[in-house]
């Protein structure tokens, strides 16, 4: 249960089974940053694209520690919903609140910028830059991190030895892993992930699921779309946009 401010620690020892054993000589990384996970409320959210209604009066309350899977057939508005939640799109009606404050106006909007991490369909990884340079810049957009932290994060997504390789030399799955390494670096309590498992192999998906559950256990909030079934994970809520309509 959530009570007051608590410490979110980004987990350290998450193994990619059989891929890259975690080097225990690295000291475990601990963020001593206090973040306050608060409930997210959707209040009558509606989205219209090209004069077609994707969804309407969508209301939902997410408590800290919950994982929400947004499901639905292609074109049902999953990505639009995530982009609305991230603040990239404005809803055609309704409001979204984080800790009781609207995320589209005033101070609530500025606060939301610090609280949520959005990794979209396009991973924002530049081919001409190395994995390390990409992550250094992407993290600097919210909180700068050190090279050591980046190397540890890359190790945890199984990219040890690829730190200095320009990303256009990496495979599609490795490309995606570079983007997902941000989940091990950033300190946002709310994660909004659009199809994070695309192009990731089985072992990678398992490790990522573990990391997501760990984030939730520590009071974080995860909202994600995926076509990959999450039924085997305990406590994952599912919002089916196909049925909402």
């Amino acid at each position: 249960m959530y009570n007051g401010a608590r410490l979110i620690q980004v987990p350290v020892a998450l193994k990619y089974s059989g891929r890259s054993p975690v080097n225990m000589s690295h000291p475990p990384r601990r963020f001593g940053v206090k973040v306050k996970p608060l409930p997210v409320e959707l209040d009558g959210l509606a989205c219209e694209r090209d004069q077609r209604e994707l969804f309407a009066s969508l209301s939902l309350r997410l408590e800290p520690g919950e994982v929400l899977q947004v499901a639905g057939p292609n074109g049902s508005g999953k990505t639009s919903l995530l982009r609305i939640m991230a603040g990239l799109l404005s809803p055609s009606a309704g409001d979204m609140r984080y800790g009781g404050e609207s995320v589209y106006r005033g101070a609530g909007r500025e606060n939301w910028r610090q609280q949520r991490l959005f990794i979209g369909h396009a991973p924002a990884v530049k081919g001409a830059l190395t994995a390390e340079e990409n992550l250094a810049w992407l993290c600097a957009l919210s909180n700068p991190v050190t090279t050591d932290q980046i190397w540890q994060a890359l190790e945890q997504v199984g990219l040890r030895g690829f730190e200095d390789v320009p990303c256009h030399n990496l495979s599609a799955g490795q490309h995606r892993r570079v983007a997902l390494a941000r989940l091990y670096l950033e300190q946002h309590p709310v994660w909004i992930l659009d199809e994070p498992f695309t192009a990731i192999d089985k072992a990678g998906v398992a490790a990522l699921e573990g990391h997501i559950m760990q984030h939730a256990e520590q009071g974080g909030l995860v909202i994600m779309t995926t076509h990959h079934g999450l039924d085997h994970l305990p406590g994952v809520r599912c919002l089916d946009l196909g049925q909402v309509n």
Partner: protein
Amino acid sequence: MRQIVWLLFCREWRLAWRRPGDLLNPLVFFALVVSLFPLAVGPEPSMLRAMAPGVIWVAALLATLLSLDGLFRSDYEDGSLEQWVLSPHPLELMVLVKVLHHWLVSGLAMVVLAPLFGMMLALPVSVLPVLVLTLLLGTPILSLLGAVGAALTVGLKSGGVLLALLILPLYIPVLILGTGAMDAALQGMPVTGFMLWLGCLAVLALTLAPFAIAAGLRIGVSE
């Protein structure tokens, strides 16, 4: 704040130097246009001198316009722009750094090379400082205004033509002031008035364009 500016500058610098072709394109275009003119119209110095301001300015203007088309496109396509828009840092500041960096690696090179081309077009040496100064004040305006167009057309597959249509009318005052200053200098008249106008436009572009660029990008990303 200072850190993000520096990091962004380093990122842009790396990206530019790892693709030197994109860097050289506007410069090569500028050099080609200017050096082809004497071949086409003949080597008569008086005629070249009369044409020089116009040729150099039009070449600089078109070179800038060509290079700006792709300014935000790759960042838009790989999702980087989304992250910029979502960042708690001001988007206006980031786009200003990006555009100024773009000017540093493309516009500034044209400014530096301009005296050489001026001499090639038989401009007297006494006029060359005026040429450099007009370009130094004028090309940042071209970059900043062009970036507004580039931001507005970022989501379009073939925004190049639309960009030219949108931005060329805005370029005309800069072109008139730049060539006007050169003509005045060639006739031995004072150029202070032109320079002040150009400086005024440059300050205006520097302060207002980032807001327009950021607004354009926000619209582009939310498409």
